[in-house]
Symmetry: C2
Amino acid sequence: MKKIDIFKKLRSSGLRPTKQRVEIAKFLFERDKTFHFTIESLDKFLAKKTTFKFALATIYNTVHAFKKAGHLSEVDVRGKKTYFDTNITNHHHFYDNETSELIDIDASEVVIQKIPKAPNGKKIKNIEVFINLKN
Amino acid sequence: MKKIDIFKKLRSSGLRPTKQRVEIAKFLFERDKTFHFTIESLDKFLAKKTTFKFALATIYNTVHAFKKAGHLSEVDVRGKKTYFDTNITNHHHFYDNETSELIDIDASEVVIQKIPKAPNGKKIKNIEVFINLKN
DNA sequence: TTTTACTTTAGAATTATTATAAACTAGTTT
DNA sequence: AAACTAGTTTATAATAATTCTAAAGTAAAA
Ligand SMILES: [Mn+2]
Ligand SMILES: [Mn+2]
Ligand SMILES: [Zn+2]
Ligand SMILES: [Zn+2]
């Protein structure tokens, strides 16, 4: 992903390309594989890898703007912190409780044969399969 | 569920049957159908339906003791509050985002045909299917 | 360049949860 | 039944994740 794409991500999220936001966007999107992160892990990375400061509020605001624009998704994990995902396709997860690690499962890897019909007046929006792992 | 069973629930959770705990246990277990709740909803019910006071810490402690003893389970729901479930069988959920309501799906209602194998050295502990609803 | 609207930031506020430690009580012992 | 002991409740403080605020700074428009 080129720098011009980073600007597009920002613009399409309603964000001006400030230096903080560009750094965040580069870290999130300028890579080959998608990944999962928390605000805390992102903050730690930014503190270590860049010279200037990032207020936590800036990180929260930027991540939420990306999420709102559909450039990030959120994953439900037991625990207190929110996990974000740069994989915005429909997909599923393994969760390794020992390491607190999320592993993607492509939607095509899961085939569901039978599912109940949605309650009256409701439709199915999406199905999330969460596979807990043990050793 | 009779009063004697309430005492068993408490005893098997390592809890003395105090009046607070008996009230909580009666509310949770003395009913025909299982249900989902948060600490907040439980607290509100107890405040409204009983005369004596419940410290929040007592509610948290009692619920956690039931969970640890296997009398309650926890459900991952997007959001900040923890949801508990008096249904401790393996089962799945519909989640109605409009009403923030969880609806049980019996394990037999879901048949999964294909699933990837667990990563090296890991085993599958359990599979949770979460179906998001829309109108 | 000046202006305007948006952005960053430090710190305060909020929310859910957990910890603390003093007052209280259930169950046991005498 | 009184005394004892271990467990319990409670108000309050502490912690952790997140959101809010408002002052100072910056990008883009005029
Ligand atoms: Mn959020
Ligand atoms: Mn959660
Ligand atoms: Zn993922
Ligand atoms: Zn349930």
